[in-house]
Symmetry: C2
Subunit: 581 residues, 2 copies
């Protein structure tokens, strides 16, 4: 590609509404342009990287035996009514009507459509397993689209759906996808981690997220440096302390703590560590509508320095669908507004659930159910009955790893892939059955597997940039090499040598761009560093006199000099090494 | 690809609502499945052909210097309001609202979005020319989607938009696209014709359609077998007869023609040819709203055996926006209802426009403006003043070619591509200007260029099928070769030889499928003939004993026998010859 025939629109400044680095840099480099909130044009430079991501994803999906199809963006409401999601899905599902006033949705995902394909096309166990994938444009009407391609409304996704005869088959399909995703993100040249994720009601290891590691990531990831344990924060189990509970030594006392409604303030006043305090969180679980009646009030106890894991709370028996209790409900049950609540002496009986860590504490501090008072030296059994115990909290750095092999670390990640065992959720709702060997209809076991194609661009940038711009991995760089000729307009020798290099690199299959725009070196260098081309060759009269061409990798602090005769080969060798081919 | 791992869903019968061959065959072969009216899934076999079309289109667009981008499907209403099409576009434009009640459209085309890109990115004459293209999913809310992919609602299009400094530049861009399209349809292996099309107000040779020739085509195409003249019926000029008008010899007579309101009936009664009769067509042109007043009534005269070309009528000065006159208007001006109208003795004055052919007639028959009467032996000048003359009719087979090089023929075509000089329509409406050499803002000259990617599949089938199924050109066949092993499950020798052939063909880059499903020969052959794979190799124990493999091209009436050792090479040679590589 020659730059003069390309469409380069770099900007000095990013628009003010671009909040994060990847969004700013993609705009500045002319990869994307905003059309409406969360809706973008992909300009040539951006689209080149999108297509490279797509190609790697497609190759690895096919290698894993998945077969490509293409489903429509506009989907009839009837399918969503069948699955129940027409009602359940929130306003992210863009509903629309055609000219005949029939209801449709703009597909945010394709479980319904693909299940409809499966039930029509698959009749017999002999046709299973099948894994169908597509690379297609999705729409989710985010309430606040932001961060450029990271949380857009219209975006490109690879989604795959597997159909199996039984759970063992589903697990094989799932593992094949897990491995394909591992190959994909490895080939993309990204530092990533697969983490166990919550998968709702299915249980087991039925869901993993693939995260690109980046300090700016929205998600907290938990991992064990000494083993392969990794999970997102929602799914990471906090083990019960192994040490037995100390016997209490302090007497129970009622302490005035005026104006100190937070654990931190109480600990400060008492001169103790936060780890000796307990916080009280009050939930309500509404009675089913048909039964009516008042909500059940539940008190969760967490250590003062721990935070509630809302997903874990949902999984405690009887707490599915919980909400935080209202102040009126709290006053009604505890006789006091929030700030001084505790498990002892509530006005009405409440269900008390202690986090595993709390259950192992002794001589602790909690609210006295009276404004401006706490209890100190509280001990289980002696001062209050043993509570129900559950894993309720987010793990913290240094917690023991659930696999028993060390302690946990935390980092930030950007979710770019998700593999999920759906089981029979859709196949049962939509009657997608096959006939087994005995001729009996059985629901198909389904898995679904997504990769955010356009989001990967943003994640790759969040992981790889510096003050001058983006730094692309070779596999998805808009161009692998740029040739910058110094004095294009004046030097015949430079033009000739730059052209020869360009031809040699192209002949070797290298994705090279020749900057024949005749721009000043400063402009050229700034543009290509911003765009993040990983390899740069500078051809100038001064170097040519010595038979040299200047080379600089995008991460290199200094340029090197190559002999003219070997410059192309040197670059090719570097690219091949990086791509591992 | 091995058939056992593929997703093949052939059907014995097509659904009853599939009206045309291509729709029936695509459904039967499992290329597409209906999701809603005009909305389809592309199953693996169909998608393979779509991707092959896309690849050829992309390669030739890039070769012509166009640069790929990707614009969104969901477009903000503001852009359409700026261009004026928010109001002008009919209900095919699907309008929708997001969760914040902002208006959007589902893009049926992208002139607005691309003009918005151009005005933001292109500042200077130095950045021009630019040609931006995309291959993207469009939505048009057809009132009656039908014919499968031929007139769908959601479909894939390649659309390109060129931006130039001046008309000469636009013409160069246009010609480059014309040539690229010619290469594309040639490479696709289709019998096609580029025809001049009407381009509204721009005039000149500013619009061409590319048609795949097929008897079932919806459009009439006019061409000259002795030259390269070709146009669609709307645009084909009907020349004035070269012979001078005969002097009239008959007296003007008033003939009773009771109940004979049609030219055919009158000619029959009088025992003359239809070519001696004239039909009267009455139009009305409404006065501009601000002026009010009654519509102007215009009488068009066409020879009895000719048909009105409505586009040509629109181009006559003063007739833009015409409509057919109402019966009341006709009675008011002619004193008689339709059926016996003519230019002589109208009740009120009307503007009379004669088709070129009519202007050269003498001794003709027309209505007498009295029920049940016609005039015979009518002659210009003698019986009525010379009328305005214009080209008003559709050409017919045998008309002289407008280029003076022979006579015209007609055939049927399916429009698959369109190149169009837009001029400054959008750049002026949306202020897409660049600064010229003198620093003055100038509107960009635009062209737009579309190819119906998914429609090409339907058109290719309408042109290439037989009673057994589709017959694909090699370039876009789902597979180039199928290997059918006889007795896959029982013969080791067959499995081995089929596998060796498969490997040899794949190694040569041939797109081959091995039918390892273990189906009976009849089922295999029927499936692959229906799917239309152009080359078939049959491996069986009987042939192998003689060292032979059976080959049959999809259009061959009989199979041939190849020696085992050369079978792969023979097929490769045939494919390369067909692809012209």
């Amino acid at each position: 590609m020659k730059a003069s025939r390309f469409f380069i629109g770099t900007l000095k400044e990013a628009p003010a509404d671009a909040e994060i680095v990847s969004h700013q840099l993609m705009l500045r480099a002319g990869m994307i342009r905003r059309v409406a909130g969360g809706i973008y044009d992909y300009l040539p430079i951006g689209l080149r990287s999108v297509r490279k991501v797509e190609r790697i994803v497609r190759e690895e999906m096919e290698r894993a035996g998945a077969i490509e199809i293409l489903m429509p963006g506009v989907q009839p409401a009837e399918l969503w009514q069948e699955s129940g999601r027409w009602e359940q899905y929130g306003p992210e599902l863009l509903r629309l009507r055609d000219r005949h006033q029939r209801d449709f949705v703009l597909g945010p995902t394709h479980e319904e459509v693909v299940t409809d394909i499966a039930r029509r096309e698959i009749k017999s166990y002999r046709q299973l397993p099948v894994n169908l994938f597509q690379i297609q444009t999705k729409f989710r009407d985010e309430i606040r689209p932001r961060f450029g391609v990271m949380r857009g409304r219209e975006f490109i996704m690879k989604d795959a759906y597997s159909f199996d005869r039984d759970v063992a088959g589903l697990q094989r399909s799932y593992e094949a996808m897990y491995e394909a995703y591992t190959r994909i993100f490895t080939r993309l040249g990204l530092d990533f981690r697969a983490v166990a994720a919550d998968n709702g009601s299915i249980g087991g290891s039925g869901s993993h997220e693939f995260h690109v590691i980046a300090d700016t990531g929205e998600d907290a990831i938990v991992y064990c440096p000494d083993s392969d344990y990794a999970a997102n924060i929602e799914a990471a189990e906090a083990l019960a302390p192994v040490a037995l509970r100390d016997a209490g030594t302090q007497p129970l006392t009622r302490v005035p703590t005026p104006g100190r409604a937070k654990c931190e303030a109480v600990a400060e006043q008492l001169g103790i560590g936060l780890e000796h305090t307990i916080k009280s969180i009050v939930l309500a679980v509404d009675a089913p509508e048909e039964q009516g009646g008042e909500a059940q009030i539940v008190l969760l106890l967490l250590r003062g320095d721990h935070s509630l894991n809302e997903i874990k709370a949902s999984k405690v028996a009887g707490l599915s669908g919980w909400r935080f209790a209202s102040e009126a409900e709290i006053v009604d049950h505890f006789g006091t507004p929030p700030g001084y609540l505790g498990p002892i002496g509530t006005r009405r009986p409440v269900r008390v659930i202690a986090d595993r860590t709390v259950a192992a504490m002794s001589d602790f501090v909690c609210g006295a159910n009276e404004v401006d008072y706490h209890l100190n030296g509280v001990n289980w059994e002696r001062d209050l009955p043993e509570a129900e115990v559950a894993d309720l909290r987010n793990v913290v750095e240094g917690d023991p790893s659930p696999d028993g092999k060390g302690t946990l670390s935390l980092c930030r990640g950007i979710e770019v892939g998700h593999v999920f065992q759906l089981g029979t959720k859709y196949s049962e709702a939509m009657s997608a059955t096959y006939l087994d060997e005995t001729g009996k209809p059985q629901p198909m076991q389904m898995g679904c597997y997504g990769i955010g194609v356009t989001r990967i661009l943003g994640a790759a940038i969040e992981q790889n940039y510096d003050a001058r711009g983006m730094i692309w991995p070779e596999s998805i760089a808009p161009f692998e090499v740029v040739i910058c000729p110094m004095g294009w307009d004046r030097s015949e020798a430079v033009r000739e040598q730059a052209g020869a290099l360009y031809d040699a690199l192209r002949a070797a299959g290298v994705d090279v761009i020749l900057d024949d725009r005749g721009e000043r070196p400063g402009v050229m260098f700034a543009d290509w560093e911003l765009i993040g081309v990983p390899h740069r060759l500078v051809v100038g009269d001064r170097g040519l006199k010595e038979g040299k061409i200047e080379y600089q990798g995008r991460r290199d602090e200094q340029a090197s000099l190559f002999d003219v005769g070997v410059a192309a080969d040197e670059v090719i060798a570097r690219i091949r090494a990086a791509l591992n081919v």
